[in-house]
């Protein structure tokens, strides 16, 4: 399809309208001119016919006068008027006139001819012989003939009026039709321009509407572009093409951005994985390291030391070694197993024995367990690290009077384990850091830290309030572990 500039289309349209209007104007002028020319021709001829009669009368008057005055001016007057009449007759004659009219003209022409020849003969005779009989006969005949002219002019007039009647009818018909044609043409032009304008405006507004709805689509985030039909107007097609291209480019850009974001995300994931792997490697390395010390060897050695202590009668030593041995065994075996509150408490008791041995009366442990809760299942090795933490970070630095209390009680369908100390406590920042797992208290521990315990509890029970901590600097720390009794969550920890 040939593309056409909007400007040229509009220009062409206006030009066409202009031409049509000029045509209408020209047509009207031509019609008026044509009709007017015919009317004026008609009137001219009528005046001419009237003039013929007057000319003949004047000619005869001069002719008659000549015979008394013999003046050349009269003769010339007679001649002039005669010729004027003949000229007028020739003027009105036309092969388009009616036959009757032409017949009458011919009659009058012949009559004038006869008049002239008789008149000339009379003048000739008059000049040669004076007023004799021949001269008189011609004179009378000429005047007689001239007297008939009035009748012939009248007939001519009548014929011409008859003829004009028909001409007038045709003229009237033409005038009326001309008017009708002009009106018709005007109506046609109006209809024409109406159709054109309607089509033209639709042709412009339709693609504009299309563009607008597409813009809306894009605003809504839909870059899917159906191919737009070209309308053939250069500017609009250009606009459409540009719009489509723009939409495509935006879409490509967004795709590109999304892709790079995805890549970055994947990269981060990869890094995280790498980190985990590293951690696992570290742990594995630690485990390997740990496994290098043969626990059996350690236990056997401890047993041997315990038996030696018995043999030597060192009961305290034996108790101490047994406690250490028990603690070690438990911590090695129960770290990845479920346990019961009772077992946990007994391990804490072994730990207490050891610590009591170390610190004598500087520290006091209170353990208070509701009997029915001894069988509640908990992850292994959660209690001892907390007690140890309370000891290491809360009490150890105190000179005297440190109290660590472990309480297990039922509360609202939950089993609450409370570990409280009256040590130095923690600042708010540190507390938060601990809860978020960002802080690990360092020190002299059996191995498993608080962070590990919190992590495991949260992982296992999948709730935030399983572990809560209250602490105030200088006053002590209270740790709550809330374990639901109804649900036996221990199974999941296999």
């Amino acid at each position: 399809m040939k593309k056409q500039s909007f400007r040229y289309s509009l220009l062409g349209f206006s030009g066409l309208m202009l031409i049509l209007m000029i045509f209408i104007g020209g047509f009207s002028v031509l019609v008026i001119n044509s009709v007017e020319a015919k009317y004026s021709n008609m009137i001219d001829k009528m005046l001419s016919i009237n003039g013929i009669g007057n000319d003949i009368n004047s000619s005869v008057f001069n002719f008659d006068k000549y015979f008394t005055t013999k003046s050349d001016s009269d003769r010339l007057g007679y001649e002039r008027f005669y010729h004027s009449a003949v000229d007028k007759l020739t003027l009105i004659d036309s092969n388009k006139s009616s036959e009757r009219l032409r017949m009458n003209i011919e009659d009058l022409r012949k009559l004038l001819g006869n008049y002239y020849s008789n008149a000339e003969a009379a003048i000739r005779e008059f000049k040669i012989t004076g007023r004799n009989e021949d001269c008189y006969a011609y004179f009378v005949e000429a005047k007689q003939i001239a007297s008939y002219s009035g009748e012939y002019v009248k007939r001519l007039n009548n014929s011409y009026l008859d003829y004009n009647d028909s001409v007038y009818k045709i003229l009237k018909f033409k005038t009326e039709n001309g008017r009708t044609i002009i009106v018709l043409f005007l109506v046609c032009t109006i209809i024409f321009s109406g159709i054109f304008s309607a089509l033209f405006s639709r042709m412009i507004t339709q693609p504009m509407g299309g563009l607008a709805s597409r813009a809306e689509e894009i605003a809504r985030g839909n870059f899917q572009m159906n191919k737009m039909e070209t309308v053939g107007i250069y500017e609009i097609d250009l606009l459409q093409a540009g719009f489509t291209k723009m939409a495509q480019e935006i879409k490509e850009l967004i795709d590109k951005i999304t892709e790079s974001a995805n890549i970055e995300k994947r990269l981060n994931e990869q890094e995280l994985k790498n980190l985990l792997v590293e951690n696992m490697l570290k742990e594995a390395r630690l485990k390997a390291l740990q496994s290098q010390i043969n626990p059996h060897f350690l236990f056997n050695t401890l047993n041997a030391i315990a038996q030696t202590a018995i043999l030597e009668g060192a009961i305290m030593t034996e108790d101490l070694i047994n406690a250490v041995s028990e603690l070690l065994r438990y911590s090695l075996s129960m770290i990845d197993r479920k346990s019961k509150i009772g077992s946990e408490i007994s391990i804490v008791a072994q730990y207490v024995i050891i610590q009591e041995t170390r610190f004598k009366d500087r520290i006091k442990f209170h353990i208070d367990v509701e009997k029915s809760l001894g069988d509640v299942e908990v992850p292994g090795m959660i209690l001892q690290p907390l007690v140890e933490n309370a000891f290491v970070h809360g009490i150890e630095s105190l000179e005297d009077g440190g109290i660590i209390e472990v309480k297990v009680y039922r509360d609202n369908g939950n089993c609450i384990i409370l570990i409280s100390d009256n040590g130095c406590g923690m600042s708010k920042d540190r507390l938060n850091a601990l809860l978020k797992g960002e802080y690990e208290p360092k020190g002299n521990t059996t191995g498993i830290g608080v962070k590990n315990v919190i992590h495991r509890l949260r992982l296992l029970y999948d709730r935030e309030d399983v572990f809560s901590i209250e602490s105030e600097e200088g006053l002590g720390t209270r740790i709550y572990i809330k374990i639901p009794i109804e649900h036996d969550r221990g199974e999941a920890y296999a």
Partner: protein
Amino acid sequence: MKIYRTLLFAAIIMVASFTAIYFYMFSDNATPTKAIFSKKRILVLAEVYQNPYWQIIRKGAEDAAANRGCVIEYEGPQTQSLSESLKIFDMGIAASVDGILTYIEQERSYDAIIKKATDRSIPVITLDADAKNSSRNAYVGTDNIEAGKQAGIKLTDITYGKAEIGIIMAGKTITSQEDRVRGFRDYIRKFNGMKIIATESSDSDVIEAELVVRHMLDLHPELTALYCTSSVDGIGAARAVMDTGRNGKISIVCFDDLPETLDYIRHGVINASIVQKPYDIGYDSVNLVMDMLGGKKCNGQYLKGIQVVDKDNVNNYNTEKGEIN
């Protein structure tokens, strides 16, 4: 864009068609030329211009003229007038017409003017009424003596040879009328019961004819038959008879087949009409004069026959081509 092309096309068609209409309607497709009028002009001089009988002759003449390529100048006095007729004749000569077909009002009065025409080699043919002793070239018309005789035969038949007759003529000095009366009179002379009581002229005018007949009926209440020698006399007579309530008591024989005459025949007011052939007279005379102008020698009398029309054949007699309604 297709629509634009269509619209453009439509506009062009519109402009073109209107231009075509303009040129068809308003342009002078031929500039008038001063071609000389070359047709022969034939003057037909009627008895009376408006006379219906003469209008039929005119129609015949004009039809012939159309065939022969000449034009007819139909003229005639508004009422019967010798001087007017002679003037028109002279005007024709003054205008150098190519041929003159004329009615003869009075035979001798036309001799001089006919001679003037023939001297200028304008052929003159007399129509309907003849001027035998003039220099006229030919006569075309009804055999009026024969027509009068036929009228006599018809009236004798109708009245069973017994009638008091009044005669109405278009003019007592008109040759054709005189001939019709002569033929009539010569025939009825043989019958003793047929008597001519009165003879009057109508001057070829319907109203005058009616008045003349009324007057005649007043003067001669014994009248039983009317013989009318021209077309208008019959109508005038019929009107007078109707108006005076003598319908059926008076037999009328008249001339020609004007529509009113035929109506009266249908209604039984007029008993019979001697129908001439005016169309033929007009038609043939124009052909004759054109033949003469073509160099053919045509002299003498060209007589046309007549028909008798009565109630029996009024609806199916051979109607003249040029009948005027």
